[in-house]
Homo-oligomer: 151 residues x 2
DNA sequence: CTTGAAAAGAACTGCCT
DNA sequence: AGGCAGTTCTTTTCAAG
């Protein structure tokens, strides 16, 4: 088990805001030395609490102006249906995130497309053609606000 | 306007996989020199295409074992309702993401909690008490798979 | 657009309190 | 555990082909 104290939490908070912050800066911000901060960061990384950093490329700037969330209810729910559906859906380049969920739907997908017409192409020719797909619900993203969770 | 060529796209792809990749590695992978790769990365960063890297702290490891997606339909939809709802919901620490969407729901929230009981507390005492909240739909996250979009 | 080199800075290591 | 001093490595900048 990994013990996480308040200093660790402060480090996580700092890194959640800026993943490129280095051990020196973080140490200064927390009033501890650079090696000390470095050791803690390494410990957290080795423990798997801090995963690899992600770079969110600006999709809009790259010509992917539309983000759509799909809620999908499978028509058939055997073991193979789930696995096959996940594999098939992960093979679609426009699908960014596949979430297996419990509730009204079975899966939730985050899909990006150049525009609504492009999204319709993806939906009709790539997603609706999957055999297991039952009910589908779509939500088009207007704005998105992220926070640094309750670390 | 920023022109983005295939080499830039390759750099974005490489960085999306590992935000800590350095200019030297990327240059080697693409067959261009280290300073060239570095200049391109800097240009993309300055242009805002490459935002700051995010470090995904492992919520489960920190004791936040439950992630729930909420679809929320507002009961009243005036200008003030939207703004007030966004502000109120962003003030809840367990709310990680607030998405304003178009479709069956008006908002989608990503909420983390320690367990289902903790989530129920958040839902009942923090979210359902908001005046504008109408219909609410919940999906509990089981597994999540991310891909590096179609850059 | 490239190479090569030098300056700056960050990561890492031992040793000490 | 935390800090100091030092070594090694990368990043960053510059000069020049």
């Amino acid at each position: 088990m990994t013990e996480i104290d308040d200093t660790d939490r402060a480090i996580l908070r700092a890194l959640a805001q800026d993943a490129h912050a280095n051990a020196g800066e973080i140490g200064r911000a927390l009033g501890i030395s650079q090696p000390s901060a470095w050791r803690r960061i390494k410990r957290l990384t080795d423990a798997g609490v801090l995963g690899g950093a992600h770079v969110p490329a600006d999709r809009a700037g790259l010509g992917f102006g539309v983000t759509v969330f799909l809620g999908i209810k499978l028509a058939t729910k055997g073991r193979t249906s789930l696995e096959e559906f996940e594999r098939a859906v992960l093979a679609i380049p426009e699908v960014q995130v596949v979430q297996h969920v419990l509730g009204l739907f079975d899966y939730r997908l985050r899909v990006v497309a150049r525009d609504i017409a492009d999204f319709e192409r993806v939906l009709r020719r790539r997603i609706m053609v999957l055999p297991a797909v039952g009910q589908v619900e779509a939500n088009v993203l207007l704005t998105e606000e992220r926070r640094d969770g309750p670390i």
